[in-house]
């Protein structure tokens, strides 16, 4: 087991880097695991890691149908923040943000968590009031937030459109200084390596195709690499949630939609923090490689295809160029899509299910990357203890029936609007 550090890097450099070993093993699936985590994305891998680290459960497999990190964790715009309005979300995401702050050292893997600050722009008095409510609520929870006026914003981003012709003038914004970005792939790889070091089997190219049940329990999962027995199952398959749930006979308050993202040619440092436009859905930040990473709305139709269409792409660019008119000559290098598990109230579900030993982690909508460590933490707890952690009690599946919804946007049961 090679510890990563400057020293080991230098040592290996002198040895022509022959000394490095696999970041995680490539084991054959065992016949039985105490816990099987379905889905080798950020959440599945984090869950496996914390099952071993926090609960000492190491006879764990993560089953990934493709290559780990090939899902949304590997295709998201990497914004990390905890500036949520509703307590049910806010406490959970803040717990996650705290974990981010120590994650690289925790995992001995540089996930490049960069607290560059997340700024949400406001374009009307009403929006300023809404941000005030959110920021004030955050402060009462001990979470950092600052209300900026127009001039504060201008100082941070002088090249935004502060002109007379701006269609939606900038009134100010809500800033969370501790928010930022992280290196998406590294998060998957870091958790994978961390979990592997604690004994977890990470099994790629292993698609779950069905469940073997007896009564209210699942006894084994059928996969493209054979049937594997299990004690408990944690589902963390994001965009594919409904399909896997269906194998267990569950119908969920979830729709799958495609969200596109874009990256520009690499530039010298231009945009220091994370900025979201308030008069249309648009968010942007700059990756360490120099590419501007940006996105906006989903494509507004159910989809399992990891690609979108031009109208939304054009809409995203229009918003971006309206916010920052200097971006028009910057070129888009690549576009792609990811399948998002849009829930009916726009908030996630980390919960027990009607099946005794099946646990659900889904409904992440636009925002599950930031949740990765927190989600793994509380999901591991829920699986290990067979009851929710206090931070995911409000994220239960029952809330849709009881009416205890977490509708940050007040959009109602219309997934495309969350």
């Amino acid at each position: 087991m090679v510890e990563y550090s400057v020293l080991s890097l230098v040592r290996n450099a002198l040895g022509g880097h022959k000394g490095w070993i696999r970041a995680w093993r490539d084991p054959e699936p065992k016949r039985h695991y105490d816990v099987i985590v379905v889905g080798g994305g950020g959440h599945g891998l984090a869950t496996a890691y914390y099952l071993a680290r926090n609960h000492g459960i190491t006879n764990v497999a993560v089953l990934e149908k493709g290559y780990i990190g090939g899902g949304n964790v590997g295709r998201n715009t990497t914004i990390v923040r905890s500036n949520y309005l509703l307590d049910g979300n806010n406490h959970f995401y803040e717990h996650s943000l705290k974990l981010w702050e120590g994650l690289s050292r925790e995992l001995n893997y540089n996930v490049m968590f960069s607290q560059r600050g997340v700024l949400n722009l406001a374009h009307s008095d009403g929006q300023m009031d809404a941000y005030a409510r959110r920021g004030n609520a955050m402060r009462l929870n001990g979470v950092d937030s600052e209300l900026l006026d127009r001039e504060d914003v201008r100082r941070l981003y002088p090249y935004m459109d502060f002109s007379e012709t701006a269609r939606f003038p900038i009134y100010g914004g809500l800033l969370q200084p501790r928010g930022g970005t992280a290196r998406h792939d590294a998060v998957a790889w870091g958790f994978a390596r961390g979990a592997d070091r604690l004994g977890v089997d990470i099994i790629q190219n292993c698609e779950v195709t069905g469940f073997e049940r007896s009564g209210g329990r699942i006894t084994a999962v059928n996969t493209t690499r054979g049937s594997i027995g299990c004690g408990r199952i944690g589902m963390a398959v994001a965009g594919n949630t409904s399909r896997v749930a269906q194998m267990a006979g569950l119908e969920l308050p979830i729709e799958s939609h495609v969200l596109q993202a874009f990256v520009t040619e690499p530039l010298k440092p231009l945009i220091d923090g994370v900025v979201t436009f308030g008069a249309g859905h648009f968010y942007i930040s700059q990756s360490d490689k120099g590419g501007l990473v940006l996105g906006g709305d989903i494509d507004f139709y159910n989809s399992y295809a990891q690609r979108g269409n031009l109208p939304i792409a054009e809409h995203v660019m229009a918003n971006g160029c309206a916010m920052m008119p200097n971006l028009r000559r910057v070129r888009i290098l690549r576009s792609w899509g990811g399948i998002m598990d849009m829930s009916m109230d726009g908030s996630p579900i980390i919960s027990k299910t009607p099946l005794h030993n099946l646990y659900l982690n889904a409904g992440w909508c636009y925002g599950g990357f930031k949740a990765t460590p927190g989600s793994g933490w509380v999901f591991a707890h829920t699986i290990a203890e067979d009851r929710p952690h206090k931070f995911n009690e409000p994220l239960s599946l029952e809330r849709f029936a009881t009416g205890h919804l977490l509708d940050e946007g007040g959009k109602g049961p219309t997934p495309k609007l969350h």
Binding site: S242, R243, Q246, L252, N302, A305, F400, K416
Partner: protein, 92 residues
Amino acid sequence: MIRITCPHCGPRDHDEFSYAGDAGKLRPADPEAASAEDWHRYVYLRDNPRGPHLEFWHHVQGCRAYVKVLRDTATHEVLATGLPQDDLEAAR
């Protein structure tokens, strides 16, 4: 660009329409008889299939008709379109 054939206007770009979601869900016909569970299933639960999906698109920039569409969610291919009361199952 998904090209959707409106039964009234002919083939149009999908961005002339507003997506109105799952058309497989039927609203409880007799509200009196419907249980809380029935309303819950109607309002909150979705099949969300990968493959052919029955859905509504509202032709907001066109004739304002709700168009029933059978579309493959894996390929985005439109398999059939019709009026809300039409049965498109044959195209599956």
